[in-house]
Amino acid sequence: MNAPFYEYGFFGDNFSLVVALITGIGFGFFLERAGFGSGRKLAAQFYLTDMTVFKVMFTAIVTAMLGLFWLSWLGLVDYALVSVPPTYLVPQLVGGIIFGTGFVMGGYCPGTSCVASSTGKLDGGVNLVGMIAGILLFGEAFSLLESFYNSSSMGAFTLPQVLGLSEGLTMFLIVVSAVGGFMAAERIEARYRNGSDNPIA
């Protein structure tokens, strides 16, 4: 049996929604268990007093990357069928700035705002309402934004293609960066936790 299962026709569009629901619940569970249901913990990332967001996200990237590579190598996943989203450089940069600003102001990203509201946190609920309002606003204004939304299209590409390196070497460099990053994160945390200018201590 080969993955991706949807691409191989093992289930259709309707069942894929069930899979999405189960995956979403799993994702939310692990976000909550990682402590991402707390706006304080998430905001602490920006003040460098708690690097959990960095560590969890980078761990997820490394795990998924190594898993995808080696499962493909073993013939269990068809690497060519894994979706690579296309890059629209300028709109995505602008989107990233809006996303980051909202994140640092509200203390939550879209996923974590759902996690926080499901555990009854009022600030999470406010962020969730803001997110839904943003989606509605974007949808209604899409005709005005459409040309910008589709601008600076660069197609779908991967990091090895950009760097001109093999997939294996790119992966190794990312793993080395991750391990180095985790070690640096521990030191940064220790330094800023003990600092007198900790704004959310």
Partner: protein, 209 residues
């Protein structure tokens, strides 16, 4: 339930494991498969059993009574495709077919002018591991002769001729012994509407590529 790993020793083991998997990946080669191993006996058997193609009449029936979903692919050049193509056909040239993403179990029906290019495309897609790939026997030439402008067999009954005429008219053609008197007969209008509806439906349900 606390899922946090507290043990520094376990963290070190996980870090070393990740580094080892990353290091060995350098020597593992690319997981993208651009070279394939073909089962030539299986391919020969498919061709011998004539399971590699559909007839123009079968294709016409598949389009008129779409019980299942399939994608019809025109592998001729883009100019020929723009001049005429079988209703619902997408255009992909051979180079694009080598890299375009299809679902592995998707049914693909390929045609070219005479059939040679479609057969080459069939082989190429089979080599990529796609299972349900077929060509249209005789290509567009046989489609024209059998579906679009069919010549009724000698001694064919009126019902058989009517059936051929109905199919031809559906696709905008006519029976060679019943050339159209006017382009705006009720029958041709009806067929034209059917065809437009079919084209619109195909366009709506087509996967983006």
């Amino acid at each position: 339930m606390d899922l946090t790993i507290q043990s520094p020793k376990l963290l070190r083991i996980l870090a070393i494991a990740a580094l080892a998997l990353g290091f060995f990946a350098i020597f593992a080669g690319s997981p993208s498969r651009t070279t394939v191993t073909l089962d030539v006996l299986e391919l020969a058997s498919i061709i011998e059993r004539e399971e590699d193609h559909v007839s123009p009449e079968q294709l016409a029936s598949m389009i008129m009574n779409p019980a299942g979903t399939f994608r019809l692919i025109d592998v001729r050049d883009s100019v020929s495709h723009a001049v005429y193509h079988i209703p619902g056909a997408e255009h992909w040239d051979l180079t694009a077919l080598a890299s375009v993403r299809f679902k592995p179990l998707e049914t693909l029906v390929l045609y070219s002018q005479g059939g040679t290019h479609a057969s080459q495309a069939w082989f190429l897609l089979k080599a990529r591991g796609l299972r349900n790939v077929y060509t249209v026997r005789g290509g567009l030439d046989l489609w024209n002769a059998r579906v679009l402008y069919p010549e009724p067999p000698t001694g064919a009954s009126r019902a058989a001729k009517d059936s051929l005429h109905y199919i031809a008219a559906f696709f905008g053609g006519f029976l060679t012994d019943r050339p159209p008197v006017s382009r705006k007969t009720p029958a041709s209008d009806h067929s034209h509407q059917n065809r437009l509806r079919f084209e619109r439906e195909r366009e709506r349900t087509r996967d983006g590529c």
